[in-house]
Amino acid sequence: MAVNTARRGLLWHVRIALLETRFQFLSSLRLPAFAVPTLLFPLFFYLFFAVVFQAGGPSLTAPTYMLATYGVFGIFAPSIFGFGVGLAQERDSGALLLKRTTPMPTFAYLFARVGTAAIFGAVVVLLLFLLAGYAAGVELHRWQWFALAGAILAGVLPLSALGLAIGAWAKQQAAVAVVNLVFIAMSVLSGLWFPISMLPGFLQDFANVLPAYHLGQLALKTIDLDLGRPLWFHLVLVGGQTALCLAVAAAGFRRFSGR
């Protein structure tokens, strides 16, 4: 009995990718250890540093600046934790291996993880914007709100690639530690917690190797608060870093299946 359905249509691929995303999102949402810090930390930081701390301050520059940097910080967690920890966990539990025996396209799995990070990221960005607009009094042109949101959310891809590279290599327990370390260190060194210009010069130079730094600058560029490097500079570097992460991840997966 010949079943000639190996070539599935585009529609089938889209359907599986969306279904995977739906269940990946549900699964993450029901995991308090993932959902609560992911949603609350950036909002809490912004509320504290940009709203309470700056209340009655001389200008709106600081809350506006922090909207971009805490926005990137807000998408950092779901991107790097979803892939870095989630993937390592599913590999250790055997869930990933089981999926590999099914007809599920690999693309659908990756799409679901990126999509889940993007949904969490979009919720964080929306809440940050509401906080900025109504509580901190940040004023932007309408197009700037959209450009800023777009620039922040585009960062899900490079940061997911970073998580993928970690998740492809580290065991689950190690992945939690490595991801936390990378997440916190890179957030600070990329100027997501406080302006990069407050760091010593050599650390500012070092920031060029960190994708989160370029994402922060790209987001700041939409509101004219970046350090003034050209757009292409950040795009080329973050693009190259993303490609490097994907290559590292691919090597990790090859090692895994050749075992």
Binding site: V3, I16, L26, A95, L97, P103
Partner: protein, 307 residues
């Protein structure tokens, strides 16, 4: 039984497959055939290479030496995945999704999945549909993995140690479900280290030890070897030579001794004396399957359970 013409192409086959993990040879020139409609049980102690063999047939492990074909294609080919289901030895699914959600996702992968109600019934999960995977007991989780393996109504199902960690009740229950598969005309490959399980379910049994096929046949044929003998002696004949004897069912060296399991000890002895008239310390003992297995595998790492 199992008297199908040999011309029937096997649904799945490993030919001359060797596999190494670093210095450890997990599979040593293994040949394995899965015939349509059969439940093939791969029996062997822990570490025999059962999971490696199954992983190669599933395409989750890269082939090193030899050939693996499933439905005439590479084991990880897209059309193979559509017609095959698998229950892995070490496997879970995300704990925060419910049984029903996992089934919905897996059913969506396949063109003509089994109805959800039928899957729940087959795996005895009717009451647990809305329960999160993480809240289930070990046995219940195993049943979910079984249901997921069947979600696509596969022609061929791989079950790697499906009853590992189950209590007696859970094992018997899963056995009934596997018998149900067979009754529905499905082909299954089942690995186990329980002789009793192999005997209860298999059309054919392949006994592997240290990566080699040491016996293969129907449970009756395997059991008929209980009338066999172990020829044990000190000899200059190499295990490779002994293995080439047509009457030799299994060959193992134990210290200075060579052990040959055979149903025809006289023929084996004639060959051995012809090659090495000086052989000494000779014993010929009758063995049951359990004993034959233990003799072959040494160190008491034999299969558990009774026949």
């Amino acid at each position: 039984m199992s008297s199908e013409p040999l011309s029937t192409a096997p649904l799945a086959r490993l030919s001359g497959v060797s596999h190494r993990y670093g210095d450890v040879l997990a599979l040593d020139r293994l040949d394995l055939e899965v015939r349509e409609g059969d439940v093939l049980t791969v029996l062997g102690p822990n570490g025999a290479g059962k999971t490696t063999a199954v992983s190669l047939l599933l395409g989750t492990l890269n082939l090193q030496t030899g050939a693996a074909r499933v439905f005439g294609s590479a084991p990880d080919a897209a059309e193979v995945r559509l017609r095959r289901g698998a229950m892995l030895q070490v496997s879970g699914v995300p704990e925060t999704l419910t049984v029903g959600e996992h089934l919905a996702l897996f059913r969506a992968y396949y063109p003509s999945p089994l109805p959800t109600a039928r899957l729940l019934e087959m795996a005895g999960l009717q009451e647990l549909r809305d329960r999160r995977f993480g809240k289930l007991s070990g046995g219940q989780k195993q049943r979910v993995m079984f249901a997921l393996a069947l979600a696509g109504d596969p022609e061929l199902v791989f079950l790697d140690e499906p009853t590992a960690g189950l209590d007696l009740d859970g094992r018997r229950r899963l056995w009934d479900e596997i018998r149900g598969l067979k009754a529905a005309g499905r082909t299954a490959v089942l690995t186990t280290h329980y002789l009793e399980e192999a005997d209860a379910l298999a059309d054919r049994i392949a006994v592997i030890h240290r990566g080699r096929l040491i016996a293969e046949g129907t449970p009756e044929e395997i059991k008929s070897r209980t009338a066999g003998r172990v020829v044990r002696c000190v000899t200059t004949i190499s295990p490779e030579t002994a293995r080439s004897f047509p009457e030799a069912a299994g060959v193992e060296t134990k210290g200075q001794h060579l052990e040959v399991v055979t149903a025809e000890p006289e023929a084996v002895l004639r060959r051995m004396f012809a090659l090495d008239p000086e052989l000494g310390d000779l014993t010929v003992v009758g063995v049951g399957l359990e004993e034959a297995f233990l003799a072959l595998t040494g160190d008491g790492a034999g299969p558990e359970g009774e026949l």
